[in-house]
């Protein structure tokens, strides 16, 4: 992974031409000759997919008592997994939509897989509220269906808002992603040799011919969707945070949560982008397309988001003290010295401590180190969500009801199963669709004057 010219901050290195770019990106998909370690890694992920399926079947057939939750901590890893995955899903939309609107050219080569990552992360996240239910087969009761139940959902409940927010976000993300794929699907259709591939990409390309009209409309729709998606970056996680904020449980009832959750989402989202991008650019030798500039920028965004998160930690603690509420204060003290204290300090050291390494340019540009930091932040952010979910109810109003929950094999089976499934989907995506936007990279090459 050693980089030649480590000080280069170009968004693209070397000189390229259109056929070369199209060929290099398209051939990953069309030739299908992927390196052996790709399939080895996919197989490992597939094992985790099997674990995920087994865990889900076990959970649904036995009941939610099979994982760690108890009274008083009735929310557990299903909620923290959900928040974690939703957070990871944020970076994709931010990169695609916000950076598009802000005309940041460096987004071009990483937006596609970031969007795919968003979709898969939201898909994973969407499963967890259902798996969380005591009777998951009735999840559709949360929908305002013209129904036979004689009653509508209870609109005062944040869970209903949540349901709507996630559904909106998933829909817009999917449309945005698909919209961006259209020109590339047409390219693949045109370059495909086999009839099956031609049909497959032809149908998906929706008759894209690349005419000026197409491009003009594409531009309008794409920007419109970007404008639509941008507020969602803020709204989804804000609404997820309302699940907590709305409750009167100490540690939940805090107005800092919406911005703090969004910042946390960006932090974990960019961490996940790096976790995927660093091996990807190495494995497929696209270090000239996904350059150090990208990595460096993502790392800078991480530290920006991370500092907001750290501010969130501080203000949470400060306002617990400043409120004068004995319950909030006791909860905060118990979070720091109680049964979950080791996790709490681990979280702080990862999310606030390790993160500070990113201030250094040399660390930001050292790919193995950056990868390790990204993974550490991912772990730290999962712990943060778990801490938030469990410490409040475990130390709430009546000390007689205080208690802790534990983690069982099923908690881990489902968490790692979902991670494996996520990566399996990413692998399938790389195999089937162009992981780097062909036309935008070409556009970029032209704009940057990197054309041969």
């Amino acid at each position: 992974m050693a980089e030649a010219g480590a000080n280069s901050l170009d968004v693209m290195r070397g000189r390229h031409d259109f056929p070369e770019i199209t060929g290099r990106i398209g051939s990953i998909v069309l030739k299908g000759r992927l390196p052996r370690h790709f399939w080895t890694a996919f197989f490992l992920c597939f094992l985790l997919v099997l674990l995920f399926l087994y865990s889900i079947i076990y959970l649904i057939s036995v009941g939610v008592g099979a994982y760690g939750i108890n009274m008083p901590v009735v929310w557990g890893t299903m909620i923290s997994n959900f928040v974690w995955w939703i957070g990871i899903g944020h970076a994709g939309t931010l990169i695609s939509a916000v950076l598009l609107l802000l005309r940041q050219p460096w987004r071009a080569s990483i937006n596609r897989f970031a969007e795919a990552m968003t979709l898969f992360a939201v898909a994973m996240a969407g499963l967890f509220p259902i798996l969380h239910l005591g009777r998951p087969w009735f999840f559709y009761w949360l929908l305002p269906l013209p129904n036979v139940h004689m009653h509508w959902p209870q609109w005062r409940s944040p869970l209903v808002w949540d349901f709507a927010a996630i559904a909106t976000y998933a829909t817009v993300s999917l449309l945005f992603w698909y919209m961006g794929l259209l020109p590339d699907l047409a390219v693949l259709r045109d370059r495909a040799r086999s009839r099956a591939a031609q049909l497959f990409y032809g149908i998906l390309a929706l008759g894209w011919r690349g005419s000026a009209y197409h491009w003009a409309r594409y531009r309008i729709v794409y920007f419109l969707l970007a404008a639509l998606a941008t507020p969602l970056v803020v709204s989804v996680h804000s609404i997820v945070s309302l699940d907590f904020t709305f409750a009167i449980t100490p540690g939940y009832h805090s107005t800092i949560f919406p911005p703090y959750f969004v910042a946390g989402a960006l932090l974990s989202g960019f961490a996940m982008v790096l976790t995927i991008a660093i091996p990807l650019r190495w494995a497929f030798s696209v270090e000239d397309l996904i350059t150090l500039r990208h990595m460096d920028n993502a790392a800078k965004l991480m530290i920006a988001a991370g500092m907001v998160v750290a501010y969130g930690y501080v203000s949470e603690a400060f306002f617990a003290w400043y409120s004068g509420e004995p319950y909030e204060r006791a909860m905060m003290v118990q979070r720091a010295i109680g049964p979950y204290a080791p996790l709490f300090w681990l979280m702080l050291s990862l999310n606030c401590g390790v993160l500070q390494l990113l201030w250094f340019k040399r660390i930001r540009r050292n790919m193995p180190l950056l990868f390790a930091i990204a993974v550490a932040i991912n772990i730290g952010m999962w712990i943060e969500r778990y801490i938030i979910v469990v410490t409040g109810p475990s130390r709430d109003y009546l000390p007689s009801a205080w208690g802790e929950q534990s983690l069982t094999w099923l908690d881990f089976g489902i968490l790692f199963g979902s991670i494996g499934t996520f990566f399996a989907l990413v692998f399938l995506f790389i195999r089937i669709l162009p992981a780097i936007t062909i036309f935008e990279v070409e556009e970029l090459a032209e704009e940057e004057g990197k054309l041969r």
Binding site: V64, I69, M71, V74, G134, Q154, A247, L398, S400, W402
Partner: protein, 991 residues
């Protein structure tokens, strides 16, 4: 007749002799055996018609034979139909039975042999709920936690269902056949070699039957085995007054009470009555109200000590010294310098007792030795209380016996006894460790065991006969004050179990008896009307024992304190409050009911004090080896604040593996350490082991963390500031975003008096029985998945070694602005028109947001499928369910409903009668069970409702009111009455 019992094969039939007899003509015969009068034939007759067999002449005549054989042929066919049940609906409705409407019967349940009156609810012939009988002196309308489980043990699938001969199923006829042999042998030998082992009983019928057996078999020995017996009470009255007497206390007259290691609120047959009177004397609603004062010195933490105004923990071996010191102080002698009691304390106590005079009451623990009991009686006599607050009556459980199980084992060892009939007791589990009961009992020629379960003794027995449950039986019983009452069955015996009286009748040679007739004939003095009235009322009127006038000898009958060598650790044995000696070990409700002070479920632990734990460097759950008298037991330690130092408390009832529920539980068998029938042992040693064992407790935090949860004050502080509960309390918010609910009709509300609550857990048990609450087992309890809708929180305040113990029952608060209601996405928890916070099970999808948002954490979630819905899996235990309450499936939330089914029933009744629901008409299960009447329930919209009066008391407060939840359940702050001269530990903290 003795030939019958002979197991040897009979002699071959002498064909030649038969030919000669038949040649004379005239004789009709069916088989060669019959005509020969062989042993085989006799056995056949005995098995089928034991009653007749006994009357059979050695040589049957033709007439008898014909009758017998004719009956045998017709009965052979009938026998197959005897258990047939008709499943068609009633063609002609029985007069009082309306499907869907429960019927209530008065009966009496036994508690360690003494009766406590009960009213049992029966749905279509299926008893489902036990309530107290208000007319019965030992119940006064209340029940305890154990009584509630009577319906559960009735439907216990593990109950013994068939007689067993050498462990193999056999018919009752076979059993009667063998009993006929025994009876004929005893008849011949006057009972030589025979013994009867009975447990504690107060049944007049049984006593009469046993007396009749004595007359019939003069050499028959009667032994009594009651592992929880307290023989010293009888011994001391013999020594003092020359005759066995037992004390009955009058707490309604007592102003100043001293408990010398007596757990009168939690133990003893009169506890429910005592609790009621005790609480009534401490009900303060107005600064001018008076209140009794309780000093407690105890050798293990009990709920009595928790209720005391002053409590001292003393080593069991020091109680005698304290009693001696008290006596000395009362007579004005100089106090013993060795007294473990602080002199200031003793002076204050003695002054208080003297001031109360005849309204003082000194109670000694029934388990205490003769000296302490004598000292207590003497103190009462000196104060003039004897005859006022203490009466002495002839013990209702008096039974002339030849000894206890130790004497029986000795007699067996001597070869004097070869046949033993065990009636109900389980000596192989409960016999003292010093006794090799197993060896003694296995050397018997015949061991008959009669009991509800195939327990340890049944496994060894040659014959085991299933007993009828007390809800299946006809019997009679006496209460703590001697009141006689009848036991009537609520249901036909499920497994053809027999009553004790039937078994006693069999031993008396009456093989075919009617269980009702056996009791009825003892009560021949009652005419049919009086009998019916006694059945209906649940008591025989005016049958209480009259106090015997006594004069106290001055020298304590020669009793003196034993020289107390207090080196080493003292062991204090206690019965488990729910499982007693282990007899209820198979009742899952009781296994899972938290013990009042430790909150331990599904097991027991060795309780030690914090200081002892510190000295031994052990922590909760560490296994310790307790050794005494050459035997030792390994048990996990559990540190209990307020436990006397250098003392370990071990409870009986656990360590049993007989029964599927009992086998789930953990814990040690303390009987293994008990060398005789004693309740304490000295000179024991504790050796910590390396390993730990699981002790499951349902409450993990004991301190209030400085929060105003249980608000409490002394009586003086209350008089100074009646609204002490408001002191330092933040003002409760008045505004809310949501509009107030309108209530046109009722608005239900509850008030719980924390001064009255003694933490006895009867309410929790009653709630479980009423509301079909699942038990989840030890694994799930350990994970915090237990389901009780109502919990009794126990907090400690003050110093670690002598804390104040506070109880607080926490049901659903039914908040007016309920946090749970707004967060449920599917409207599964909603506010009703009468103010309840209702949970709609079939609408719930299990997001658990409601529980997350409940500040009281009173909601319970079905994490797993805790109750079986599979028809094929359904066992008899399904019979215990209340048909008016849904059984919840997994994945749904549940919680206290204020017994909405009871409210609905009364509302329907009121609507039919076109009237309003009267105050006090709706009684919740917890309220009904509560022996102290701490819980009041009613309609807040009625000005005259009792609950409104309670809530208008100055010490009324709402839990966590600063959260603006506006609970409908409110608390009356705890008021205690400490002596101002004694600084009370913990005073002014946490208040």
């Amino acid at each position: 007749m003795s030939a019958i019992a002979d197991d040897r094969p009979g002699p071959a039939i002498d064909i030649e002799a038969l030919r000669k007899r038949l040649a004379r003509g005239g004789e009709i015969w069916r088989s060669l055996d019959e005509i020969a009068g062989t042993a085989e034939f006799r056995r056949f007759v005995e098995a089928e018609f034991p009653a007749i067999a006994e009357r059979l002449p050695a040589k049957p005549n033709r007439r008898t034979l014909l009758k017998l054989m004719g009956a045998s042929l017709s009965l052979a066919g009938l026998a197959a139909c005897s258990r047939a049940e008709s499943i068609v609906p009633y063609v002609r409705q029985p007069e009082i039975l309306i499907p869907g409407k429960p019927i209530y019967y008065a009966t009496t349940l036994s508690s360690d042999g003494f009766g406590i009156g009960a009213i049992v609810e029966s749905h279509e012939g299926r008893p489902t709920k036990v309530e107290g009988n208000p007319d019965h002196p030992a119940s006064r309308g209340a029940t305890d936690a154990v009584m509630q489980a009577a319906v559960l043990t009735l439907f216990d699938p593990d109950r013994s269902r068939t007689p067993l001969k050498d462990g193999e199923p056999a018919s009752y006829g076979d059993f009667l056949k063998d009993m006929a042999a025994l009876v004929s042998r005893w008849a011949a030998s006057q009972g030589q070699g025979g013994a009867l082992l009975v447990e504690a009983t107060t049944s007049p019928t049984a006593a009469a039957q046993i007396d009749a057996l004595r007359v019939r078999y003069p050499k028959l020995k009667i032994y009594r085995h009651d592992p929880l017996a307290t023989p010293a009470t009888e011994a001391v009255s013999r020594a003092l007054f020359g005759s066995p007497l037992t004390p009955v206390y009058r707490f309604d007259r007592a102003e100043m009470i001293l408990s010398l290691d007596a757990d009168f609120l939690g133990e003893g047959p009169g506890r429910l009555a005592y609790v009621r009177d005790f609480a009534a004397r401490r009900r303060v609603r107005d600064p001018s109200d008076r209140m009794s004062r309780l000093y407690a010195m105890e050798s293990t933490p009990t709920i009595t000590g928790a209720a005391a105004d002053h409590r001292l923990a003393i080593k069991p071996s020091e109680v005698e010294a304290v009693a001696a010191g008290l006596n000395a102080a009362l007579t004005g002698e100089a106090g013993d310098s060795r007294s473990p009691i602080d002199q200031v304390w003793m002076t204050a106590l003695v002054d208080d007792l003297r001031a109360a005079g005849r309204n003082a009451l000194v109670i000694s623990g029934a388990h205490q030795g003769a000296f302490v009991q004598a000292a207590a009686l003497s103190a009462n006599a000196k104060l003039g209380a004897l005859g006022n607050t203490v009466g002495l009556i002839e013990p209702p459980d008096a039974l002339q016996v030849d000894g206890d199980v130790a004497a029986l084992c000795e007699a067996i060892g001597d070869g004097g006894i070869d046949s033993v009939v065990v009636l109900g007791a389980n000596p192989l589990h409960t016999a003292p460790a010093g006794l090799d009961a197993h060896k003694a009992f296995s050397s018997l020629k015949l061991l008959v065991h009669y009991g509800l379960y195939r327990d340890e003794t049944a496994f060894l027995a040659h014959w085991h006969v299933p007993a009828a449950h007390e809800l299946e039986s006809w019997s009679d019983i006496r209460a703590y004050d001697g009141t006689r009452s009848l036991v009537q069955p609520l249901i036909k015996p499920l497994y053809d179990g027999k009553t004790t009286h039937e078994l006693l009748a069999v031993l008396g040679g009456q093989f075919q008896t009617d269980p009702l007739a056996l009791v009825r004939q003892h009560w021949a003095a009652l005419d049919d009307d009086a009998w019916k009235k006694a059945l209906r009322d649940g008591i025989v009127p005016d049958s209480a024992a009259k106090p015997v006038p006594v004069t106290m000898p001055s020298n304590l009958g020669g009793l003196s304190p034993a020289a107390n060598a207090t080196d080493g650790i003292d062991i204090r044995f206690v019965p488990d409050p729910w499982l007693r000696d282990g007899r209820f070990a198979n009742a899952s409700w009781l296994q899972e009911l938290p013990r009042p002070l430790t909150k331990i479920v599904w097991g027991n632990a060795a309780l030690i004090s914090p200081a002892t734990a510190e000295r031994l460097k052990i922590e909760n759950g560490r296994v310790i080896n307790v050794a005494s008298n050459g035997t030792s037991v390994d048990a996990p330690a559990w540190i209990v604040s307020g436990h006397p130092d250098e003392t370990v408390t071990l409870s009986f009832g656990f360590g049993r593996k007989a029964g599927s529920v009992a086998a789930l539980s953990e814990g040690h068998d303390a009987f293994l350490l008990r060398s005789a029938a004693e309740w304490m042992a000295t000179g024991a040693a504790i050796t910590p082991r390396e390993n730990s064992a699981r002790v499951i407790s349902t409450q993990h935090h004991q301190a209030m963390e400085g929060r105003a949860i249980v608000r409490h004050a002394s009586l003086e502080a209350f008089r100074r500031d009646p609204r002490f509960v408001r002191k330092d309390a933040p003002p409760s918010p008045k505004e809310s975003l949501y509009p107030d609910w309108p209530y046109d009709r009722e608005a239900w509300a509850m008030a719980i008096d924390l001064s009255a609550c003694i933490g006895c857990m009867a309410c929790v048990s009653a709630c479980q029985a009423e509301n079909n609450i699942a038990t989840v087992g030890p694994e799930e309890c350990e994970r915090g998945h237990e389901m009780h809708w109502l919990r009794v929180d126990r907090y400690y305040a003050g110093p670690l070694d002598a804390p104040e113990t506070l109880f607080q029952p926490v049901p659903c608060m039914h908040c007016e602005k309920a946090p749970c209601e707004v967060v449920c996405p599917v409207n599964a928890t909603v506010h009703t028109h009468d103010g309840l916070n209702a949970q709609v099970y079939n609408r719930c999808i299990g997001t658990r947001y409601c529980s997350q948002n409940c500040p009281y954490k009173v909601r319970r979630f079905n994490f797993l499928e805790h109750q079986s819905f599979d028809k094929d899996e359904a066992g008899p235990e399904q019979g215990v369910h209340n048909p008016n309450v849904s059984v919840r499936s997994r994945g749904v939330m549940e919680k206290c409903t204020y017994c909405v089914q009871r409210i609905s029933a009364k509302r329907i009744q009121a609507q039919i009668e076109n009237r309003d629901i009267a105050d006090g008409e709706v009684v919740t299960a917890c309220q009904q069970a509560c022996p102290t009447q701490a819980i009041t329930f009613g309609d807040r919209n009625r000005k005259d409702a009792k609950v409104v009066r309670e809530k208008s008391a100055p010490q009324n407060y709402a839990l966590l009111e600063e959260l603006n939840t506006r609970p409908r359940t409110s608390y009356l702050g705890k008021i205690s009455n400490p002596n101002g001269r004694l600084a009370k530990p913990g005073e002014a903290t946490d208040g």
